[in-house]
Every structure is written in C-alpha cells, then in structure tokens.
Amino acid sequence: MALEKSDVEKIAHLARLHIDATEAQEVANRISSILDLINQMQSVETRNVAPLAHPFDAVQRLRPDVVTEKNEREYLQKIAPSVQNGLYLVPKVIE
C-alpha cells in the first residue's frame, strides 16, 4: 500500500502538522510500510464479528450534578503561553 505525497499533505493538514516538502516522500514511504504491516489484518474474515471498543463490557457510571471545581484561574494560567485579562490569546481567528 503506497501512500502518495499528496496523501501525506492532506493527513498532515488534518492533524495540524507541518511536513516539509523535502521530507514528505520519506514520511510517505515509512507510513506506507507501516500500512503494509497493518494490512495483514485484511487476511482474516471478520464479517460477523462485533467490533470491540473496550476490553470489558462495563457500562458508564454517572456523576451527581454537583459543582466540585473552584476558580483557579490565576494558578492554571501561570503555565499558559499567552494570556491577557484572564483570556488565552491566540493569533486572530477569522470567521
């Protein structure tokens, strides 16, 4: 299974990764070889097998509707790259 450079560019964009044009081919090759490994799965017939998302058939537990968190803004924003007036700053979002 060979991935094209253009596939790599598309996936990289979805994942918000920057792939240099010079590395794209090598990345494509490496991922292609991993896909070959992955594609060994296709050798097994699984038509009637239900997908298993979790190792155990447990069910979701519920939490009471209670406020347990307090305002820790100053503490939590000490590790932020850029804040002003309590807001996280990012380059302009254009809509």
């Binding site: 896909l35 799965m41 296709q42 503490y75 932020a80």
Partner: protein, 486 residues
Amino acid sequence: MSRRTVAELSRSLARGEFSSTELTRDYLSRIKQFNGVYNAYITVTEELALAQATAADQRRARGEHGPLTGIPIAHKDIFCVQDVRTTCASKMLSNFISPYNATVVERLNAAGTVTLGKTNMDEFAMGSSNETSFFGPVRNPWDPERVPGGSSGGSAAAVAADLCAIATGTDTGGSIRQPAAFCGITGFKPSYGRISRWGMIAFASSLDQAGPISKSAEDAALMMNAIAGPDSKDSTCVEVAAPDYMATLNDSLQGLRIGVPRQHLAEGLGAEVESALQAALKVFESLGATIKEVDLPNSHLSVSAYYVIAPAEASANLSRFDGVRYGYRCAEPVNLEDMYKRSRSEGFGSEVKRRIMIGTYALSAGFYDAYYIKAQQIRRLIKQDFDNAFKDVDVIIGPTTPHTAFKLGEKNSDPVTMYLEDIYTIAVNLAGLPGMSIPAGLHTHLNKRLPIGIQLVGKDFDEARLLNVAHQYQQNTDWHLQRPEV
C-alpha cells in the same frame, strides 16, 4: 541499602535500622553519581523527596505508617505530579508544571512514599527502546550500549541500577513488561480498569494501564495494594474493590494449570529466550503445576490491529497539545494555522508525528471501516482466543520478548522492525488482561550478561493469581536478585 527490595527496606525502616531521610539521601547520591551514565531520570525532585522523607519519618514516629511509608520511589514522567515538571519526555511539555496530581501519585503520596523524581521514557510512551525521548536515550544498566526497552525505560533502568526502590510505569502495548525483561526486573501490568488513569497522560485510552516496576513480585503486590481500586475520576476504572494482593502471595501452586501459547514458541523466538522459558516451566512443574500448550490463533494479527487502534486514539488524545493553554508554542506565529502546525511540528518528535499521521489516516473518511472497525473486530477475536485458552488453564506463560536487549540505534531505521519487538505483549493490552514480566535467566553475550524475561498472563482481574505465581517462582529461584555491575 539501596539494593534491597521494598519489603526488606520496609522491615528495616520498621526496625529503625535507618531513617527514610537517610535512605532517601543514599538514593539521591546514587542518582547524582550514576544518572549521567544511564539518563534514567528527566527530573530529580530532591527538595520534595527530602520533605516527604522527613514527613514519613515523623509519621513513623507517630506510629501512623504503612508498608510504603518512607520508601523512595520514582514516577514515570507520564504521571502528573503537582507543581513538578511533567514532560512525557516531549519538547511539547518540557515546560509543563502540572497543576494537579495523578490518582496513582496521590495514593502513593498518601501511603507515604518519597518521590525521588520523574523517569525518562519514550516520548508520549511511543516506543520500545526509549530512544524517542526528547531528553535523550536511556542506557541499559546491564550494558550501556544497549537499550533498556520502552516506553518505561527510565523506570526500569532506575530500578535495575538501584536508583530507586521501586517505580511506576505504564503499559499500552508492553511498555512495562518489555523494559522489565530487558533490565532484569519485575514489571506488572494490571487488568485494564484496575488502576485509575486520572493524571496519567493518555497515549491510547483503551489500552493504557499503570503498574509497578519493581525488584520482586512481592514489591509489586505492595504497590498494587496502594494504587489499585475504584476512582470516581476515571469512568473506565472498575468499581469493584481490589483484593489484598499480599494475602495470597504464599498460596501453593499445586494443581496450577499453565498454558504455553503454541504461537509464541514458533519462528522468531531466540534460542536463549526459549531455553530460559523451558527452564522456568520446569521450575513451575516442580512446584506442582501442570503445563499444556494453548492456541492463540489470531495473535499474529495483534501488532497490526494495535497499530491502528493505538495511533487512532493517540491522534485525538494528542490534539490538545496546540500551544494555546499550556505547553510549547512556536515563536511568532503569523496566523492561527501557523501556530498550530509549527507548535505541533516543533513540539513533537518524529515517532509521535508518525503515529498521529497513521491514526489520522486510519480514521479519515473512506478508511474508517477498513482500518478502525477491522482492527476492533480483530481485537474481539484476540480477546476470544484468550477466553478460550483460559477455559483450560489458569495462567498463560511465554516469552516477554523475542530476544534480549538490542543495541542503541539497531532498530531505529525501520519503525516496523521496532514495532514487532512487542509481538508477545501487545495482545494482552488488546484483551485488557493482567500481564507481567519476571526475570528468568541471563544470557551471556560478548562478556556481557543480558537478562531474559518471561511473561505471565492472567484472566480478567486475576492479578492476585499472577502475583502469587510470580512470587512462588521468585521464592525458588534467584534471577530477580541478580544485579548488573553498575
């Protein structure tokens, strides 16, 4: 004193042979002496350790201690420790000071352990050699030219080189068991859901599980008693209370039914590992166990299925690292997209990026069924294989790894070769079962002794049985007591 097991240290502390402060200082000085060689720690928390040791000594003086009070421990740098740098061995989090504690850390703190520092690992736990760390590779204490295994390589090396008494690790596809095998120590991965994942930085949420990396099965049981059990903060952590793992350590193995997977004895298994395994099986037979072959017919597909499921989950889990609220942000982004792409590309290493790409691809439109759904179907087949095998046996025993520790750089050129290192361990994570690796031999190669590990796999939530089997083995052998010449 640093060579002793936790159980021994605990007895010594109780007898007043030395204080926790003295013990802690001893470990800290060993770390200063040897960490430059092995690179096992990313961060050493000397101040915190001495404060916790003092507190532990006071607690002991008041008679409020437990078996872990005052025991120096190392945490894999994937566990959040409040007000301590928690990096996941990534540039992305190289400046991240965690604002909270992982449940595992919280419980060990409550038990009175002393945090020596944060251990090195593969970046975001993605690797089997510890070579993907932003902070440089860890070296195997048995042979510094070789890898300690991964991803919990720093924890394994720290325990093997006596740079801590015991350590925490995490295991997504073998990340506790494989480094334990390579470093000649005991590594225990509990059933998925036995230990809270709160505060453990996620790699693959449906596979990740925390566990002890220790010098003996008994030590693993001591730590399990402190960390296992329900947590209201983790929905996937089971609600049943954990048993006392110490209580059954000495149960007899008379009548124990051991299964050996036919597929694990097939081609690819190194002769030295196979002979160590056969020798271990003899020991179990002498203890009253019966051995039979079992079938895990789909085990050869586990690596394939794993390299869809784990990267898929990881691709979403790692989306939060965007340079907005914490972590690395690139310099002077020209716009939002540039900020995202450069922060993530500069912040993540190449293996992490590769896995994000694979996961993104496997989930993308048009491929979801062929990859993600297919992998989950294979996952069910693998689980069913184990269910069938466990109809006839109580534990499954086989090799942990195909061979002993390989050299740094040896398997770097091709990711697929590296991925196949985890061929025996991955299926256990897919099935959510408890598994452990214990030392079962040493292979002498070019004047170096290299440890060999065997893997024990138990039924769902049957951790106590595994610890019992391992402990009995260790009562009758001394492989776990072997140490490298540091």
